[in-house]
Symmetry: C2
Subunit: 357 residues, 2 copies
């Protein structure tokens, strides 16, 4: 099966070396939750995020020490860094000077047009793009009054800010337009996408805990990507940001947009299952966590249904009482003692990895 | 914001007292992973599932002891039970006799038409519906040959089995048509929905681990529900089935289809956050786990953005260094010491619960 999603072609911008929009792969990003001025903690987190596949990192810049920390952080990391600025345009100027590869601002809360122009001018000089980040929760009063907190108001807010930046001859713009409500987020992005060819940063904001945040992000981001909308994604969880990156890739994998690392198919187990499949799956998932090889692995509870139901897997195991099987593309390769199932599967994955390299 | 999804009207069937299709709410179901013949373990799990909101439970019936256990299990639980049968029609007859409220069979692997007729006749006598459950992994050879493992082949397989049941004057039918691949599952259900008004059981099969399974189920089930397709859902995770139910409700909540329990909005924290929000969120989530009151709760990291960005929440807290705030519908109600934030919020939720009762 190889159904492929058609992505909408957008204008391309570059965040450091990472291209966003056009034909570029959908980039996965996250945001640190350390104090940005705590350089060792921030760098350590970014290194963990890089290992998980994070391609762009955003840091909060609430004050000058945070802005100034960017230089040292940048020297120690390997992915582009975006400075997230609210309220004070001088923080944006300082972040640019310190080497930020991108800015995220809400021009509406940066102050006068003159201040926005100062930021736009300096960003242009540095060749740095700006994301106009609109949140349903912080819309301008006039738009709230006219439209309520609606997709229409969010889109108007975004486009107004884009026009302001363009009036200063600034064009390297991305847009985000997030709500914590999935249905509002969907309608807002669809409307926005119909009105602009600027690249879009897609996410559901304040998505919440692991369960609700993962579900809301998967539906919201997933459905937009399915419709071809979205050039970079950020999953928002109240959790270790590494889990945001992990969920981001799961969304891309589920939609066959990008592959990173193994895809594990496993049955939910039922009264037919005679092995401890939860433990087997956990062992295999942990062992393969940092692999980048795209390979489809099936871990099935019973020998009867296993190989047949997981025909599309490159490789798989199915459990049985005392004895399981190893199969490839639905065909049984050999019988394996239950206690050796994990070991044998991991060895086979290594072999496939070597063959492909 | 109250965007509402329009659901496709389907023919209604009843699984015990639970209506599926027509105007009935989308029912959340799960499947036990105990040995069905281990009655105490199975009953204990079903009780946990009931507490989590599971509305229909399915059990595997691989042998006669499992079929016979149904009677005793049924006597101890409060939700309808569906027997999952493969290969042997006598197990279906035995399950019906033992009091199953529904059958899930794949008529293609039950054997001759005569055997299928025996099952249909007895199910009709007992007033029990049958789910025709097609899996991409176990399609009939002739269909695989003609169409490949495609949505078209899956739909043809389902409709062929439906016609067979109808030829025996059996009509209380649900259909499922699952693949482990999200894009295939989507296309299969869309095609099926365009060809029948029978109620549909929706899910992505062998969805996998907590992360990939939640993401695949959220996108697959979520997108179909968004399009109005689906009358009952089952999330498939290689995990405690209670988590399947939890994810199921998160999908329904995210799409504003059903409410069950609090919806927690929480920010992902950033360098502006001065409290341990992860711990606060975990404490609140645990404390409210078994509440059924539909209430939107915001848990935000900073006083500056918190109340504004979470205006739509019924109630919320925002952290600050030493001192946070309690807010309702975006308006600050009072300042609260950091250490009291959780306690004060939980008390307020109790008050709202009492007022609504």
């Amino acid at each position: 099966m190889s159904i492929q999603i058609q992505r909408k072609k957008t204008r391309q911008v570059s965040v450091g070396p990472v291209k966003i929009g056009g034909n570029a792969p959908v980039a996965v990003q996250s945001m640190t939750n350390t104090f940005t001025h705590d350089i060792p903690a921030t760098v350590k987190l970014i290194h963990r995020l890089e290992a998980a596949g994070c391609e762009i990192i955003r840091v909060a810049v609430p004050d000058m020490p945070a802005a100034e920390a960017i230089r040292s952080i940048k020297n120690q990391i390997h992915i582009p860094l975006i400075a997230d600025i609210h309220f004070d345009y001088r923080l944006a100027l300082a972040a640019l000077k310190a080497g930020a590869d991108g800015l995220r601002i809400n021009p509406g809360n940066i102050g006068s047009n003159k201040k926005v122009k100062a930021v736009a001018d300096q960003a242009r000089d540095y060749g740095v793009p700006i994301r106009v980040g609109v949140n349903a929760g912080s819309l301008e009063k006039d738009l709230r009054k006219k439209y309520g907190v609606t997709p229409e108001a969010m889109v108007q807010s975004a486009l107004r800010h884009v026009e302001l930046l363009r009036s200063f001859d600034f064009h390297d713009i991305k847009i985000s337009i997030k709500a914590s409500d999935v249905l509002t987020t969907l309608e807002a992005y669809r409307l926005l996408s119909s009105k602009t060819d600027l690249p879009l940063h897609v996410g559901v904001t304040e998505a919440g805990t692991l369960y609700s945040g993962t579900v809301k992000s998967a539906i919201g981001i997933g459905m937009l990507l399915y419709e071809g909308i979205g050039d970079t994604i950020r999953v928002s969880l109240t959790r270790d940001p590494v889990e945001e990156v992990r969920v981001g890739y799961e969304i891309l994998k589920a939609l066959n947009i990008r592959q990173r690392g193994p895809e594990i198919i496993s049955c939910p187990t039922c009264g037919r299952c005679q092995v401890n499949l939860f433990s087997i799956v956990d062992q295999i998932e942990s062992a393969l966590m940092n692999k980048t090889i795209p390979i489809k692995i099936a871990i099935m509870g019973c020998v009867v249904n296993g190989p047949g139901e997981a025909k599309e897997a490159d490789i798989g195991i199915a459990g049985g009482a005392g004895q399981g099987i190893l199969f490839k593309k639905g065909k049984v390769v050999k019988k394996v003692k239950e206690k050796d199932l994990v070991k044998v599967l991991l060895e086979e994955v290594e072999k496939i990895e070597e063959l492909r390299n």
